[in-house]
Symmetry: C2
């Protein structure tokens, strides 16, 4: 009955469009563009291991979140998810900034959001360029009428605080743009001291961390970064389409002092701040948010929060159902020469504890213990469930 059910469920579409015109005798003459053949074949998505610069593969839990049914963009559960995303970004960025949210677009869209809101036509911006991201930021800043100076390094090089200070002294910018993870060249830009340096020269520090967030330490508040953004599709492991962003109090003050509205309504931080509950006003409809992309981003941030709430030195693993933990620890010792431990106190009989400390904390040892545990699953006694 599937076809009939489908026909009934999309009846408004079918009937308004076709019968409406048929009544006027125009059906055949108006439908000049036939249904495309390509769309009559099933969607083809081959499995592929994505080890490029991103997007990376999405773990099953995040895939499932993206496939959940929709809710309305103003439903309390969605606003709750947005609050959780906000807290997750604050955690990932290590910031207490009130103006923290996710842009409804890719990392590039967040780059525009940062520049569109921070800069007004005629404002001076200094863009550190050592790869493609600086080039693009300079392009966007020029489009919006900013006064753009470029601080250049050959691809593969990074900027020293001395390089930056020279630029600040020479051009007196209101904003410095710099890329934390230059994915076109593989350079990680050291950020230590740059925030303080910028602030000494009356400049705001804007950092692109699309390719680095979560994979290299970043501490927005301690490093005095004024605007920081990233993307959903790199270490956060969600599909592309949303982009975390945060503004410091200094940056927020610059926004409040704007003479003109930002060029974009879609990316206007005043509206977005309200929709994301970052101001004191009741939340107002701004745009229809990509609801299930928010679900996915929320799960990516949740995995980050869960992992980080874990001891980095001792990993506890639930004893798989049907197994005795003692069989497993004995098997690992006897057959693989690896010591791991059972639970302690409240976790006795419930978990295995794996220590990775000092010189033992290597990828090779992680592989070795995982292989040994896998072996244990097939070789140790398992009771019927």
């Amino acid at each position: 009955m599937l076809a009939a059910a489908q026909a009934a469920s999309t009846a408004p579409l079918l009937w308004a469009q076709l019968l409406g015109t048929a009544r006027r005798g125009m059906a055949t003459s108006l439908l000049r563009v036939p249904p495309p053949q390509g769309l009559l074949r099933p969607l083809a998505v081959p499995e592929r291991l994505l080890l490029g610069p991103g997007p990376s593969n999405v773990p099953p839990r995040i895939q499932a979140a993206g496939g959940r049914q929709l809710l309305g963009h103003m439903h309390p559960e969605v606003l709750q998810v947005m609050d959780e995303i906000k807290a997750g970004i604050q955690y990932a960025f290590q910031t207490q900034n009130r103006l923290t949210l996710a842009i409804s677009g890719s990392g590039h869209c967040a780059m525009e959001a940062a520049l569109f809101n921070l800069l007004e036509p005629g404002d001076t911006v200094l863009v550190a360029i050592n790869g493609i991201w600086g080039q693009r930021a300079a392009d966007i800043a020029r489009r919006l009428g900013a006064n753009v100076y470029e601080l250049l390094k050959p691809p593969g090089k990074y900027f020293t605080p001395q390089d930056i200070e020279q630029g600040l002294v020479q051009h007196k910018p209101l904003v410095l743009f710099i890329t934390h993870g230059e994915s076109s060249t593989g350079v990680l830009q050291p950020l230590e001291g740059l925030g303080e340096l910028c602030h000494r020269h009356g400049c705001l520090l804007l950092v692109d961390a699309v390719a680095s967030l979560g994979g290299a330490p970043i501490f927005m508040d301690q490093q005095e970064i004024d605007v920081l953004y990233s993307g959903s599709q790199k270490v956060l492991n969600a599909p592309p389409g949303t982009a975390p962003i945060s503004f410091s109090e200094r940056a927020r003050e610059k926004l409040l002092k704007r003479k003109m509205k930002p060029l974009s309504f879609y990316l206007d931080m005043g509206w977005l701040a309200n929709y994301w509950g970052c101001d004191e006003e009741p939340r107002r409809y701004h745009h229809t948010a990509p609801i299930n992309s928010f679900f996915s981003l929320r799960e990516g941030l949740a995995i980050l929060a869960e992992l980080k709430a874990r001891l980095p030195t001792i990993t506890t693993v639930r004893v798989p159902e049907g197994y005795n933990w003692k069989d497993i620890t004995a098997f690992l010792m006897d057959s693989h020469g690896v010591e791991i431990a059972g639970g302690l106190g409240p976790t006795v009989d419930k978990v295995l504890r794996i220590g990775l400390m000092g010189c033992n904390s290597t990828g090779a040892n992680v592989d070795r213990v995982l292989r040994a545990l896998q072996d244990a699953l097939t070789r140790c006694h398992r009771s019927r469930l």
Copy 2:
């Protein structure tokens, strides 16, 4: 072993962030923002029937597409899906426009894409306002420095060709913005003749069909609409986050004659046209597209194409496995007083044929035949499978 596998898969994240800082003895002092408690609870998405102005519920097939694994944004399969989306939009819009694609953002983002690309600072635009969408278009046009005139009607009213012509004569705009489906008031704006009228006055016609596409007839080419956009989350039944848009040759010429680049790089139609294969150049990376939102949109457009490839007057339904079609037609006739038919020629024994024609083509009759078929499933003989 889930926790261990997770820890291993996100090891770069965990270890770079925590061990990297631990080595410098800063782990506890730097991680000042603790993991948010809200993210340690499972994602909660209650089931809800969405009968508001959109988003609407997503059918299982589109949900599944959104939950598929990712591919790279330049993989041939993704470019293929984009080609299929393009063809699907051309079909849904009834246009042969080459410059047809989906914006990586919501319907509002498409509104900005249309205005940012069509207008340059100082260009005159006439905005027909009879609800919120006109107001927002006027807001965006003002932000980008256009010379904005408003054509006003009270909410609930629509514009006549005479209203429009007066405005065109008085203000001599380069672009007229009008909303097809005014979802804030429930008004469907008649579009007949408006394209021709605009072109007689040297003006381009820009139509917002976010709330109407697929639910009310629209024929971009025949109606001489120059720019048309919609959203993914209404009749197309995909999650919000992508937005179909198309530009006529007249509109494309206006883009080519621009003196300045569009204000937005993210929404720059020159770049997007190339990424979507709408020009003769090899496709270049522009932004990381929301891959699985494209999968969902593709499925929404495919359902439209499949339905429209069906006769509106006679719905064929596969005979459910294990049943004899004659039992079903006889049962419907005897117990429900409803005539339907079996297959014909190549479909004999395979399908049931349900006619909905003339005064019989009503929602009540659809409900009646579906109820009767449901009854038949439980009452007719079914062989063991």
